[in-house]
Symmetry: C2
Subunit: 273 residues, 2 copies
Amino acid sequence: MTGGAVRWMVDGVEGAALPPLDRGLAYGDGLFETVAWIGGRPRRWVRHMARLAAGCRRLGLPPPDGARLLAEARVLAPAAGDAVVKVVLTRGDGARGYAPAGGVRRIVGVHPWPALPAFAEGASLTVCGTPAAATPALAGLKHLGRLEHVLAAGEVASRGAWEGLMRDPDGWVVSGTRTNLFLVRNGVLWTPELSRSGVWGILRAEVLERARALGIAVRRARIGLEAVRAADELFLTNALVEILPVTRFEERRLEPGPVTRRLAAAVRGGADP
Amino acid sequence: MTGGAVRWMVDGVEGAALPPLDRGLAYGDGLFETVAWIGGRPRRWVRHMARLAAGCRRLGLPPPDGARLLAEARVLAPAAGDAVVKVVLTRGDGARGYAPAGGVRRIVGVHPWPALPAFAEGASLTVCGTPAAATPALAGLKHLGRLEHVLAAGEVASRGAWEGLMRDPDGWVVSGTRTNLFLVRNGVLWTPELSRSGVWGILRAEVLERARALGIAVRRARIGLEAVRAADELFLTNALVEILPVTRFEERRLEPGPVTRRLAAAVRGGADP
């Protein structure tokens, strides 16, 4: 459905709307998942639902009903085509005030599959000035408050890059605006540790698993910009691109490297565990 | 309208709803104001609109039309009673993706005036474990992503306190969950500096102005929990309580002090500048 219209259901009702009392709108009080829907099937559905359930536990929301969400996605998404399925859970409607009372509201949206760079082409990566939040309470969660990412994405667009690195307020690299970052140096795979910032991406976890299974040494650590500049290979991950090599970082050009290629082959297609 | 129903307008239409494509819901991409509406009139409307306009500039949103927002509030709010008017601006509907394209959507809601402690009774204040975000890009903004505050407010409610202090990830005091904090020590008025966290409250700014006009020495600084514990006076501010003394902090009982009383008298009623 590339270029097609967006369709959605709110609590199972197609095209329904929300009152402004929804706590997702009022306070960012909710979570979302962005699922690749390829050839009429979701990729990594089990992983997405597991992350969503873990997020619900952290926020005190009831656990998601994955079967119902998938059934709703199947009503809306193409039976044999590609799309992006976005699942949102909010704490439902609430009175004014932060205290977390409410129920839960589910939104399943189906969006056109976006134009993405091919693997060989890779991504151009810039460095954003907008800092990511340091927020241990929310670290890892794909929650609805993404305003730093919005501002950073504005920077990326204005520079004509495909993605931008965000750093935390102390200058440590967190991630791209919509991707996790990996770098390879002397055969070791590094990715930023994300105990105070960032999203614990589905693909990030899968890449770490696959790397270990392939015997590639893995480090999660604080990473500064100089380490990114000194990398032999750089790549980005999310549920839509899976693994996308960085072929331009600031003024430097890079080729997709051997570790990137091995891992990309290992994760491609994302069979559910 | 204490205990009354909530009424709202979305882009001027009473009771209208929003599509889930609204960027306020999707990404917290918007701002809000919480206005005291007393005896049929807004308090500090000019200050609220000035803050909203400043926030719009930072986010690249068009400036708010204060006259239209006020006209809409007048349709919904009691002609002679008290209420809370909540104004929300979002970046309107957008396609999936963080990059900030869109328009603007305005929501004016009228909520019941809440039960608030009397000045003499004051507030009980606890210390939340949930850290506030350190997020220089958003510091000061009353933006829609308030999930840390939601979690902290849950802590406050579970302990039966009225308010809870939030600290940044490095342990510096930021504010209450829905108030700014002031402390008095040896006649000097202190409040946390908020260059990386927190909301630049309307009342916070007004208290700082009034204190200077009254010849009270003022300091904005990094403040640790020990300084709060050592304070002679503690008070909280927001647009609804104006100034509320802290009469219990952790296990300690305090009285509303002389500086708190002077400032409370100075700000009471909030004539617009």
